[in-house]
Amino acid sequence: MNSEPILSIQSAEIGFEDSRPLLEGCNLEIRPGEIVGIIGRSGIGKSTLIRTIAGLIRPLSGDVLFSGANISHSPRGAIGLIPQRLGLVQHQTVGYNVLMGALPNSSWLQSILSLPSAEMRDTTRKAIAAVGLEDKTLTSVNLLSGGQQRRVAIARAMVQNPQLLLADECLGELDAETARDIIGLLKAIVEDHGTSILIVDHNPVRARTFCDRVLQLRGRTIIPLSEEEQDETTALPQYRGDE
C-alpha cells in the first residue's frame, strides 16, 4: 500500500460558525485503497465532516489536503460523493443518473451537445450491469426501491472512478442482505480501481466488519475506537462480503 495519504486532515476545526465549531482538532489520514469508517451519534457532525472533505464547506481552521494540496484544488472528478439521500436526479432514468458520473471526464463540446462518447456509454452500461440493474436502465429512479437507488448511486461512482469516495450513511436502514450486496459493490470499486473510501455509518458493528479502520466522532473530535469498543463491535458474518 502506498504510504502517501490521499486525504489528510490536520488540526481542523469544522462547522459553520467560528465561535461554535462542531468538530475541533480533527486529524485524519486515509491512504489509497483504504476503507475507513466513521461512526458517531446523530447530529454530532458526521455529514458536516463529509461535506467539508468534499470541498462543499470550508474548514474553520486547519488543513484539509487531497494528495498534499488544498482540497479546493483537487483534480476534477477526483472526489466522489454519495450523500445520505443519494443525490440522484429525480424523474430521470437510471441511465441518465449513472452517466452523470462521466461528466468530469467529458469535453466541453460533448457536454454542450449532450453527446457522450461511445466509451462513456460503454462504461455506463458496464457499471449498470455490475450493480445488476441492466433491465432498469430506462426506468425513472423514482420508481426504484431504496436498495436499487443505492445501486444507482454506486454505479454513478463507478463511472466517475474517483480517487476518494465519500459515502454518507449510504447503507442507511437496509436489511442485512441488501447491505451486504452494497458493501460487496463498494469493495469491488476499491479492488478494481484502488479507490479510497470514507464511509459514515451509524451501525458500528457493520462498519467494523467491512472497513479496514473504524474511527468515531466523540467529544467533538475524531478518535479511534477503544479496545473495549472494538470488542463490542465484533464483526458479524452477515455483513461480510466474502461470506
Binding site: P75, A78, I79, L81, P83, L103, S111
Partner: protein, 305 residues
C-alpha cells in the same frame, strides 16, 4: 347617550378587523373624492352599456366567413373563411404567443440559472434578478407600444413585446423552481468539481424539469390571452382586428363575434394546457383532474368535485 357612544367606540377599538375596516373605508372615501369620481358617471356608463349592447347584439359572425381584404400581412389563401378576420386574427395571436413562449423560454432559462442563488455567485444572482424585475415592470401592452414605435405595426412587434415580458415573468418562476431543487444532487456535482453551468444544465434543470415544463405551458396560456390585448395597439393578433372594427367604424356586433371566438379558443387552449400540465405536477393524486364544465362555467364545479 354619551355612555353608549363611548361603549360603542371602545367596542370598535377593541376589534382589529373593525379598526382596519374603518381605516380602509375612510381611505377609500378620500381617494374617491381626490379622483373626483361621481355617481352620475356610473349612470352614463349604464346608458352607454345599453346602447353598445343593443348595437353588439346579435354578434355578426360574418367575421368567420368573409375575407378580410385589408388584412395585414395580406392573406394569400384561396378559401374566404381562411382569410376571415377571426381566423387570421386568432391564428396570428396563437403564433405570436407560441413564438414569444419559445423565444422567452430560450432566453429566460439561462438567466434563471444565473439568478438562482444555489447555482450562481450572490452578486451575479442579484444583478440578473434586477434585470428580470425590470423586464416585468412594464406590462406586455407597454412593451407592445414600444416595439410598435421601434419596428412598426404588425406581428413582429407583438412577438418582441410578448417575448420581453415572458423573459421577465418566466425567468422569475424558473429561478424560484431552480432554487427549490434538492440540495444533494447539486452537492454531488460540486464534489465532482463540475463548473456551475454543467451543474445547472445536468443536475438542477433536469431535477426541476416538471416545474419548468408546467410553467412554460402556463406562460403559453397567458401569452394567448395577452396576445389579444397587444393587438389593440397595432402589435398584430386578433386585437388588431378588433381595433379595426372599433375605430372608426364602431361595428360592435363584429367585435362581439371576435370576442366570442377568442373566448372559445382561449378556453380550449386552457383546457389542453391544464391537462398536459397535470401530467407534470408532482404528487398530483390529490389534485382533481380538470373538467370541461369547470373551465367554461367555473362556479358550477365544487372544490371537492
Amino acid at each position: 347617550m354619551m355612555g353608549e357612544a363611548q361603549r360603542f367606540f371602545q367596542f370598535v377599538l377593541r376589534r382589529p378587523i373593525l379598526r382596519t375596516a374603518i381605516v380602509l373605508s375612510i381611505m377609500a372615501i378620500l381617494t374617491i373624492l381626490h379622483l373626483e369620481i361621481t355617481l352620475s358617471r356610473l349612470g352614463d356608463a349604464a346608458s352607454n352599456l345599453v346602447i353598445i349592447a343593443g348595437e353588439a347584439w346579435p354578434p355578426d359572425f360574418s367575421v368567420l366567413t368573409n375575407r378580410a381584404a385589408w388584412a395585414y400581412p395580406p392573406c394569400e389563401m384561396q378559401t374566404d373563411w381562411m382569410c376571415s378576420p377571426a381566423v387570421l386574427g386568432m391564428t396570428q395571436t396563437l403564433e405570436i404567443a407560441f413564438l414569444a413562449t419559445i423565444f422567452g423560454m430560450a432566453m429566460s432559462l439561462p438567466l434563471a440559472a444565473a439568478a438562482a442563488t444555489n447555482l450562481s455567485p450572490p452578486l451575479l444572482a442579484q444583478v440578473v434578478r434586477q434585470i428580470l424585475a425590470a423586464l416585468r415592470v412594464l406590462p406586455s401592452l407597454i412593451w407592445a407600444l414600444i416595439f410598435v414605435i421601434l419596428v412598426g405595426i404588425g406581428p413582429l412587434a407583438g412577438v418582441l413585446a410578448m417575448t420581453m415580458y415572458t423573459v421577465g415573468y418566466l425567468g422569475k418562476l424558473q429561478y424560484e423552481a431552480l432554487e427549490g431543487v434538492s440540495r444533494e444532487p447539486l452537492e454531488v456535482a460540486r464534489a465532482m468539481g463540475l463548473p456551475r453551468w454543467q451543474i445547472a444544465r445536468f443536475f438542477a434543470i433536469p431535477e426541476a424539469a416538471n416545474s419548468l415544463i408546467s410553467q412554460m405551458l402556463f406562460m403559453f396560456e397567458y401569452n394567448v390571452r395577452h396576445g389579444s390585448v397587444v393587438g389593440l395597439v397595432g402589435a398584430g393578433g386578433i386585437g388588431w382586428y378588433m381595433q379595426y372594427y372599433l375605430e372608426p367604424f364602431k361595428l360592435y356586433d363584429r367585435v362581439l363575434a371576435l370576442v366570442i371566438v377568442m373566448y372559445l379558443v382561449v378556453i380550449i387552449i386552457d383546457q389542453i394546457s391544464l391537462r398536459v400540465r397535470s401530467q407534470f405536477i408532482e404528487d398530483d393524486e390529490h389534485i382533481p383532474r380538470p373538467k370541461w364544465r369547470g373551465t367554461i362555467v367555473p362556479w358550477t364545479e365544487s372544490s371537492d368535485d
